[in-house]
Amino acid sequence: MSGEDAVPAEMHRPRRPLGPTPAVLDQDAADRLLTGQLDPADAPPGYAGVARLLAAATAPASPDELAGAAAAAAEFTAAMHSPHALHSPHSPHSPLVPRSAPMPRKLLSLKATAVAVVAVLSIGGVAAATGLVSVQLVAGHAPTASRGASAAHAERGTAVAVDSRSAGEAALGGLCRAYLAGQGGQNGKREDSPAFRALAAAAGGADKIAAFCQSTASATTATGAKGQQGTGPDATGAALGGLCRAYLAGQGGQNGRREDSPAFRALAAAAGGADKIAAYCRDTAPGGSATHQQGQGAPSSTGSGQGQGQGQGQGSPPSTTPAQDQGQGGPPTTTG
């Protein structure tokens, strides 16, 4: 049995002077150390430091260890709604299946990317659509926005007022790209999100989105040429609704600090002030799902402000994007 723990000499690097070899532990003390049940004060001679060390290693979770919870939950839901992912022929614990680390990591990041893009668009994109209600939208560089750039651009953008109509179309363009990109995968089912309800409203129905997006995609490249797609009021209402839902949903959690994002500045402008958003949203939310409208009062400032999405907008149909949109999906900590 001793042969199995032979360690190649180079694997261990004596990097510090070692203390005296402590007494041999009895099995009970070892077990209690390893299960965190041995108080340092009761530790055998020479093992008090180890007991403290092991206690530190099993300290309660820190917030940053739990920072990815929202992304993980989204990943879970996306995968659960994708029969492909669930019934993958690769049994995750079969020793016979060759497992290659780099491949699944890439796969995962692609999936996370799609989720992140959708998440960003459901906030920022909808915010941009708000431009249609004559809100002076504060967004990124005008040329980028008018090309339908990803909302992330607008999020980190400087304060440049953009023509509201093209901003609205920018949002629709972004939503369309997200929709088309998501069709093949698990995000095709995301029509229940506010963003896609907005898109469906603009298209005239969920089943018309694809056709709408294809026609919009070719047209949006010509800036300002659109407006007759029936985008206007419906999209606006839905957009505001989505924005409001995003706002209300975010109040309790880490999105509480989102008031500094362009999306919420737009909302604040529509509401007539940041402090009026909550009331405004309660009055406005058009047919919003009641489940999301519980959180009221002042925006919470307890949010950690840690966004985890790091999306890269990918999978865009070639006809819609002159260049790959690179979206930074971690929204709350945008600083101009």
Partner: protein, 189 residues
Amino acid sequence: MIGASFPSVLAHAQRGDEQAFAILWRDLQPALLRYFRVATPAVTEDLAAETWLGVIQGLERFKGDERGFRSWVFTLARHRAVDWQRWKARRPAMLVPVELLDDQAAPDDPAAAALEALSTRAALTLIAELPHDQAEVVALRLIAGLDVAQVARIVGKRPGTVRVIAHRGLRRLAQLAGPVVLAHGSVTR
């Protein structure tokens, strides 16, 4: 540990309930990160995410109690760790020297920092300094909370061997921590 509500949480998660999954995730993610911090210090978040992907894929088919669930999750985690180590071994040219990574990830003296501030991260870094098999067994016993039999199954060794390795790991840790304890006098709180 989730405890008495685990069967219900698991059942809901298996039916696709996101909240239930979030409970599982919050319960195990810190331990996963810490395990990888010991076993594969450079890529903890990535490997934890890959582990969860495997959990999601296999969740429907999982049967067992909470102890079994933890054991299964860490079986997947160890697969990821072993894969990563193999992958790393095939690409030595791309690697930053281990010492450099260590020094970037750790305070100047992990032992001193761990004992002074009881920083979890420093403690993990010190455990990661153990020979690999010792570090792994200590991590699976201590951080994953698995018993000797479970760890033996996961690492493919006999229970007696696992005990011996854990023993050596603890003694080695005592040696690593020893000079610091002496230098800083008492370690009582």
